[in-house]
Symmetry: C2
Subunit: 318 residues, 2 copies
Amino acid sequence: MALRTAFTDLISVEHPVVLAPMSGTAGGALAAAVSNAGGLGLVGGGRQGLEWCREQLGLVVALTSRPWGIGFLTWGLETPTLAAALEQSPAAVMLSFGDPHPFADLVHQSGAQLIIQVTDLEEARQALDTGADVVVAQGTEAGGHGGVRSTFPFVPAVVDVATHTPVLAAGGIADGRGLAAALALGAAGALIGTRFEASQEALVSPETVKAIVDGTGEGTSRSRVFDIANGSAWPATWTGRALRNPFFSQWLGKEDELAHDDDVLAAYQEHVSQGDMSYETVWAGEAIDLIDDDPPAGELVTRIANEAEQALNRVLSR
Amino acid sequence: MALRTAFTDLISVEHPVVLAPMSGTAGGALAAAVSNAGGLGLVGGGRQGLEWCREQLGLVVALTSRPWGIGFLTWGLETPTLAAALEQSPAAVMLSFGDPHPFADLVHQSGAQLIIQVTDLEEARQALDTGADVVVAQGTEAGGHGGVRSTFPFVPAVVDVATHTPVLAAGGIADGRGLAAALALGAAGALIGTRFEASQEALVSPETVKAIVDGTGEGTSRSRVFDIANGSAWPATWTGRALRNPFFSQWLGKEDELAHDDDVLAAYQEHVSQGDMSYETVWAGEAIDLIDDDPPAGELVTRIANEAEQALNRVLSR
């Protein structure tokens, strides 16, 4: 038996498991692997630009005939990139962080479902006004960029606002217990990032996978340190959750100073180019306590879906 | 059908619903109401001292013949207070925030179950070493004092560490969906605070109840502002989540300055003594989006237990 929800019905997928479109990490092979296993794979378009997207969408189209999608950072999205993606007929387009309004019509005209990620209730209301077909309620425990609300109380609050629009829970979910809990809270599925970062198909280094497998939730923090070090254009509204390393610990609370220290920034780039993990950014969510392997992504989808059913049946069968 | 768990078996209660021992707010009448409805009521001994505890324990003993308990702040607990509580034969004693080791034997010798609340994995391991019969994994979304971990990923991580010891989830739970999600995550029940703060039996003012019913999760923050304003001895390790009000917003980020401004502190006390809600502390968790009434506490227990079963059956029946 599969866990049917309003989301699996809407997108015609088997499992309510969605690959978070981690920018540059969720490429075509990872998205296809998730889709082939019955989830929904979302390519991490982020703001990787047209060429990267063309290449990865070529891959996903070649590797799966199941529904797949692509996600973008709304604040950095340019219409030609979105248009090029829509030419490949994604089942869904996900927009995160920023005003989705300028892009909504283009997505809907293509026939794709519009998924909008939100980090507070005001953003949730805006997403619904914009015509979101699916709302992702993302908690602060998520890896990478996000807001301040926590998944547990935020998801049911968004469900209550969204009424008939399916909601996905994101942030802090790395196993089937988390998927089961998301569904119990009223969500129609789970959007999962860090768990898939430690999978065979993710576009990350072996050192990053090792850091995630070895890391703990208490070893992650939300800040702007890495955005500033990387010269990123991310708006200050959303901070990024990453594993703390010596570079991070040195500059936390001294972000303004860091932004203006050209010598330190140049040295940072030099260390990163050499793959020095004392400097490298490893985006990771608080749920990494639950991650201790890096199997093929398809195996993870099956495992999470099965565990979720077991978790629910375990509760009811006592 | 009731939701049986390892916790309901251990304590011999009907529902896996536990009243958080909110210091000074969870008095004997509230604890008895929760216990009489089939949950476990915990009197909020906090560090209210011997007289308050005697009075409230007198009430709870008079009002219920079901299992009940009492909770203390470990860092402020004195042995005579604990001993006086144990004379009333509580079914459980809960210790939060601080080293529980000096009190564990006394609790166990009385025959009471020892419940220890933790806010990170290191504290969880210490609690198990101390002989906790039940571990409460508290997330940062909780009202009042707490740590930085979020409930959703923290609970399963504690469950994995605790192996056969029952775990309660705390923080962000205010309805049956939350209880259902807690159980799905592997918890054996939910410890619920703010939801019961807005109940008929809570020892709070009507203005506090109104602030909770009207408030939003995004209107709460974790800080030391109110501890400093109240001259509280709380260790800085744990901050308090409360509703932001004008006084709070004025002093957030200027805590050191506040601590040394005797005029402001005196004016604060004056306003609070007049019940001025622009100054008053209202401890509240992020789940207050889900709270819009203040019924009798027993009604809440029944409602939460019924909703949780419905939520689980809804997920599995599609």
